[in-house]
Amino acid sequence: MKVFLSLCALYLRSFYNLPGKRAPGTKPGAKELLKEAGLLLVALLAVANVGFIFVMLNLALYDALAPAGMQGMIILNTAVVVTALTLILGFLTALSTYFLSDMELQLLSMPIKPRALLGAKFVAVYASEAAFSLGLMAVTMVIFGIKEAPGPLFYLWGILASLLLPLPVLALSYLVQIPLLSLARFLRNKQAILVIGGILGVVLAVGFNLYFQSGMAHQADPEWLAKNFAGPDSLIARLGQVYPPAQYAWRAMTAPASASGAAAILAMAIACLAGPALVVALMSGMYAKSLIGFNESHLKKLDAGDARSFIGRRMRSSSAFLSMVKREIRLMNREPIYLLNGPLIIVLMPVIFAVMIIVQRDAFLSDPDMAGIMALLDSGRGALVAGLLGGFLGSGTSIACTSVSRDAKALPFIKSLPVRPADYLLAKLAHALIFGAAGSAVGVGCLAYLAKLGPADIAIGFLVAFGLSSLLNMGGLWLDTASPRLRWDSPMAALKQNPNSVIAILGSMGLMGLLGYLSFTLGLGRAEVALWMGLAPLALFGLLYAAFPRFAARRLAAMET
């Protein structure tokens, strides 16, 4: 048991990048506290965002169902949503953490029972699932609780149900993955898993978006909501009927003080705990075996003649700066975590917006606000809106604001090379600007297509987008040069868990909002938009660019890795 608990602690720390115990007598510095508070705020913002959508949907559903006395169906709806979402997230998390690192091989060499290995990993993945489930169920419990005043047992059963619901779906994830990864050799590779997981994640994110958008599009149509989310023929009701744990949760929470409620929660506990217990008991051996030889790679060797011609063909000189830019692009685009959360945003965000627009087309067209927006676009504001959209897309790749952190492992080597610190860091900026230009073009292009903008608006829109994204990318590079994250175990930490990327994205959102507000308030025309939002940011970019080399040299010299 002690080994199991130690493993749980180890996996939890590795998965969630938790800090270790502080040395006795040491206190966190102001900078560290500020960073922690910032990360907490960002986490709250992210949760609040999803939570808000879920609150609105639940409120609308409650109002739609209450007149027919079917308000209890929002609990079944939540139970099914929790099940579906934890299945998706759990499957992806279990897959991406199936083989964490070579640390797993070290663990295999120790006298640890396979059950402890699989059980501890299950617990670590389950921790985030449980928190997510509890968060969603809490929304429903609060709404239902305020409206119906159901008594304390309702909340107890609700908490228990939300903790139990992710268990069987996570067990199902392992039930599928363990045999799959045992048999399919090509899957026993971290790179392949990250790519497959990333593609699945994108598809599921779009699907999830589709689901919510379809609900939000009919927020003002209670009949549609009742029929599609809680009617007897709805997908939710059908899923609820065939999935006993969701049914049990619904029964327990709609009759909390009754014997049938208690019986339902007991049945739910048995049903939900059986899956993980069986998987851990029966499949641990297979799981441990599947870890052996994970990440093994096979080198394709050239014969002597081919090697000679390869060197002659491929070893060609080019400029040092161009070579550094190519290195930046390759290192980012070949790391799946970086690609998916960085440059791919340029493609992914327009796809998500396209889904939203297609699904909500009728609602959009009939919305009076939309008519106003279309009128604004027609009245010469198209360039501004396109510019702000393109600027956000061009600066949302997190390339510049994480560039030093991502390169932390290579810094000692880089610093030994005869390269001016400014050139090394400006290669990172060049990388960001290339994708900034691409993001600007995609953003402006999409709006130009939708709003049928003319050539002048497109040109001004691109000027604004490129000017703003360049300025933000330069700012991001300053930020990550000033305060990079130099110590990390997983590449993910350098980008996704880097406060600089969060600051950059929130800063970009804030700047776009502020500029939009100012331009509407001040009634700026096309020429003024081009001047103040295109040329002025480029001038500011130029000033920051000119001041950067001295700052870069000083900061890079002070970095100790």
């Binding site: 050239l302 060197i311 070893m315 000189s317 030994s416």
Partner: protein, 247 residues
């Protein structure tokens, strides 16, 4: 030629001096071994010498060029093999070598000749098309060695170069070291392997707790200690003395 003069370094998050007033001079044509227990300050010294770290005080000169005053000039004269080959896993070996050659401004014909020579000697010529991430630790080490020689540096500095190398490659590396020293170039390397230092080095230095405890030839070391034992035994005694003196 490399010259360290009263160089000291304390890391930002530490109160202890990792390198404390260290002075050292290595001449061209020498193979110089840098020995010391773990945490003695070997890697920090090498990082100060190669311009990776900034010294708190003292100076590091390469061929008479001050690293702090003219870092680019000084670095051009160095080939450096880091102690951690786990870099650039996502690049292909050929891409890495081209990157290094571009940075040092090596033309196409010269880089092709040198890569062919050293990658061939170290046995990685047939896998230059592969991703570095698929390399073993030893292969990565060989790639770093090849990359460090691509510009034919006057001063070759290697941090623990034998770690992870198979016997044949270790032999080839030692041969390359001898060949370079014979042609008047400097070879400076740190190691834990006493036998290698004993057989290969013209001179050596022993560092303990950030300070040099000996510099000279093996014969001078034996004479000073009044011992005819192996380098390993003398090294252990010296390091132990340092521990006792400290306590």
């Amino acid at each position: 030629m490399i010259e360290l003069e009263g160089i000291s370094k304390t890391y930002a998050k530490s109160a202890v001096k990792a390198v404390d007033g260290l002075s050292l001079k290595v001449d061209n044509g020498e193979i110089f071994g840098f020995l010391g227990p773990n945490g003695a300050g070997k890697t920090t010294t090498i990082k100060l010498l190669t311009g990776v770290l900034r010294a708190d005080s003292g100076s590091a000169k390469v061929d008479g060029i001050d690293m702090a005053a003219s870092p680019l000039e000084a670095k051009r004269r160095i080939g450096y093999v880091t102690d951690n080959p786990e870099i650039f896993a996502r690049l292909k070996a050929a891409e890495y070598l081209n990157f290094v050659a571009d940075v040092y401004g090596v033309d196409s014909a010269t880089r092709q000749e040198r890569i062919g020579k050293y990658a061939g000697l170290l046995g990685i010529k047939d896998v230059l098309n592969a991703s570095i991430g698929s390399y073993s630790h030893g292969m990565k080490q060989k790639l770093l060695v090849t990359g460090s020689l691509i510009h034919d540096p006057e001063n070759w500095i290697l941090d623990e170069p034998m770690v992870g190398l198979d016997p044949k490659s270790a032999f080839s590396l030692k041969e390359i070291m001898r060949e370079r020293a014979a042609s008047g170039k400097l070879v400076f390397f740190s190691t834990h392997v006493m036998e290698v230092a004993e057989k290969l080095c013209d001179r050596l230095a022993i560092i303990n707790k950030g300070k040099i405890v000996f510099t000279g030839t093996l014969a001078e070391l034996k004479a000073r200690e009044g011992s005819d034992e192996s380098l390993e035994s003398i090294f252990l005694e010296l390091v132990d003395d340092g521990e006792e003196a400290a306590s």
